[in-house]
């Protein structure tokens, strides 16, 4: 209960930042296109720094075990989501953007700051397996979903700054190498910007949204509730059935991180990819905005559900 309350508070505090980004555009201080600069900064510099600094912790067998558990959970849940979406796609006539929105959550720039403020910096480490699995899938499977004729660029996945930073972080973690003080403090303080910058860019994007369109379509509500309630509940039920939180020490906290990632709103990458590959990027943007708005309520509720049954 207390954690849900804290979560609600963190999410609201992030909503305040979103509001600031939104107000920045609405008041004319910032332009709508400026969100690209912020997004580039966040994707190419700030997030990789966050990843690097997450891995700058003491190596211990427990942490390795936690990482492996989180990796297994991430692979499994993505598999389940993809299968489940395939099953739903036929009867409901889901299109590519809708499928992508159901499967892929915003596990990066939303979850990392949440985990930092809720569980502490040392838990950020456990967001990386989910992120890694997601990035790989989103540049392969998701691209195919959004644009079936797109050619896959495996090179691009490897060059993704977050993947590179995760690899570098892992090398440093397993080798127990520490960055020199000057670089480490720079990386730490840059990484700490992940929350505000991510929220600003979401707010700036929202300022460009057509709100009438956002709230009108009933179908969009259904997709968003699927992403925010049904899919994460699926994860909670699977964890509950496996009983893993009862016999493995520390599993409850590690899987809570996975749970948070699983109940996040629709990934921003869906809109970006739709934009890039000429699919319906407006619809993707609408789904994204709508899911961010609802997540303020649903995320604390689902965390409460997780804590009750797992």
């Amino acid at each position: 209960m207390e954690l849900s309350y804290l979560l609600m508070q963190s999410i609201l505090s992030m909503a305040v930042m979103v509001l600031m980004g939104w107000a920045g555009v609405k008041s004319g201080v910032l332009k709508l296109e400026d969100s690209r600069v912020v997004a580039a900064l966040s994707l190419y510099i700030v997030c990789p720094c966050m990843m690097l600094s997450a891995f700058q912790v003491e190596f211990s067998p427990q942490k390795l075990q936690g990482l492996l558990l989180a990796l297994a959970a991430a692979i499994l849940i993505h598999g389940v989501y993809i299968l489940f979406t395939l099953l739903l796609a036929g009867p409901f006539g889901l299109d590519g953007v809708e499928k992508g929105s159901l499967i892929y959550s915003n596990s990066g720039n939303l979850i990392i700051p949440l985990v930092t403020s809720l569980l502490g910096k040392e838990y950020v480490l456990f967001t990386s397996p989910f992120l890694t699995v997601q990035i790989i899938l989103s540049w392969t499977h998701c691209v195919k979903l959004v644009c079936p004729s797109a050619r896959l660029d495996l090179w691009k996945i490897l060059k993704n700054p977050n993947i590179l930073a995760t690899l570098a972080g892992m090398v440093l973690f397993f080798g127990q190498l520490r960055l020199p003080g000057v670089v480490a403090s720079a990386v730490d303080s840059v990484g700490a910007c992940v929350g505000p910058l991510g929220m600003f860019s979401i707010g700036m994007l929202m300022a460009g949204a057509d709100w009438g369109r956002v709230f009108r379509s009933k179908r969009n509500y259904a997709i968003v509730l699927g992403r925010l309630v049904l899919y994460p509940a699926l994860f909670a039920v699977l964890v509950c059935l496996s009983r893993i939180t009862f016999w493995m020490e520390g599993a409850r906290q590690v899987l809570l991180v996975t749970m948070l990632a699983a109940c996040a709103p629709v990934a921003v990458t869906i809109s970006q990819m739709a934009d890039l590959f000429g699919a319906d990027s407006r619809k993707a943007g609408v789904l994204n905005v709508l899911s961010v708005v609802f997540s303020i309520l649903t995320m604390p509720l689902l965390v409460m559900l997780y804590q009750t049954i797992c």
Binding site: M20, G24, V29, A40, S117, V183, S189, V190, C193, P196
Partner: protein, 303 residues
């Protein structure tokens, strides 16, 4: 020293981001707007969210008096120097106005802690109105000062709000203060990136041949802060008043900062030589990596 190097490293990252094309040209303008309109106001408000003990009030008073004194002195000295050295408006502005905001705030936070930022704000409260009235007047004596615009400057507004909260003892509600605090923590990285981006867009050839620019930069970074050290040492206030040494260290840092980025920005809009002002900003920022720790050392020896 370590803090300054770590900040220089962030500027380097920003520079590389611009050079590799990750951030497009023009990105610096976006980040400046961000700093000016969103991050700085948050910093100013957070700075004043501290307990209003007698110590804090004395400190605030001391730093305010010091800020008025030193900036008055700088104005005077610069006016005296202007004739014999034929300093133009941009040069005078570069000597007087230091980057007391987006460089000093993160530095003070890293070195002394967040609760000390309000003493840096005391310097800015004096500097900002001066910089937006006196300096445009230097550039163009005929232009009328837009007082309303000055009042609407987000920094002035937020310092006003911060002071109000401080004296009334009001605290922001948890959700808002959480947001404002984490935004204010971005001040260092974002403004360093910004400086890095600006440096990537600078025409360095403007500087190589210009002995004058080097002299101006060194005047700003060495001669002017030394004036402050001399005066503080002469008054002997640090020996008499407990805590004064730390408070005035913050004023010293503000005095020994590189040329304010605003000097180039205002020159641009008021018809001065913007690119050259930008080059002096960049040069002094680079040199400050060495001079600022030296000045702090000197201060600690004499005061």
């Amino acid at each position: 020293m370590e803090n300054i190097l770590s900040m220089a490293f962030m500027a380097l990252v920003g520079w590389m981001a611009a050079k590799t094309g990750v951030i497009r040209p023009g990105g610096a303008t976006v980040l400046s707007a961000f700093c000016l309109y969103i991050i700085c106001p948050c910093v100013n408000i957070v700075a004043f969210q501290v307990d209003r003990g007698p110590d804090t009030q004395t400190g605030l008073l001391v730093t305010l008096v010091a800020a008025v004194g030193i900036q008055g002195l700088y104005l005077l000295v610069t006016t005296l120097l202007a004739k014999p050295f034929r300093l133009d408006a941009v040069e005078q502005g570069s000597l007087i106005y230091s980057n007391a905001g987006n460089l000093i705030v993160p530095l003070v936070t890293a070195m002394l802690g967040r609760e000390k930022i309000l003493y840096a704000c005391a310097f800015r409260v004096i500097q900002i109105p001066l910089m937006w009235t006196h300096y445009p007047w230097l550039l163009n004596p005929k232009a009328k000062t837009d007082w309303l615009k000055l009042l609407r400057n987000p920094n002035i507004l937020s310092v006003g709000a911060g002071l109000f909260l401080f004296f009334s003892g009001l605290r922001l509600p948890g959700v808002v203060s959480g947001a404002v605090e984490s935004i204010s923590d971005c001040m260092g990285p974002v403004s360093m990136f910004n400086i890095g981006l600006l440096m990537a867009e600078i025409d360095w050839s403007l500087l190589l041949g210009s002995v004058r620019s080097w002299l101006i930069a060194l005047g700003r970074l060495v001669a002017y802060p030394m004036l402050f050290i001399l005066f503080t040492a002469a008054t002997g206030v640090t020996a008499r008043l407990p805590g004064a040494q730390e408070w005035l260290l913050i004023t010293l840092l503000a005095c020994s900062a590189p040329v304010a980025v605003n000097v180039a920005q205002i020159a641009e809009v008021s018809g001065g030589d913007g690119p050259r002002a930008g080059a002096v900003v960049a040069l002094s920022t680079l040199l400050s990596i060495v001079t600022m720790p030296l000045m702090a050392l000197l201060y600690q020896m004499f005061c």
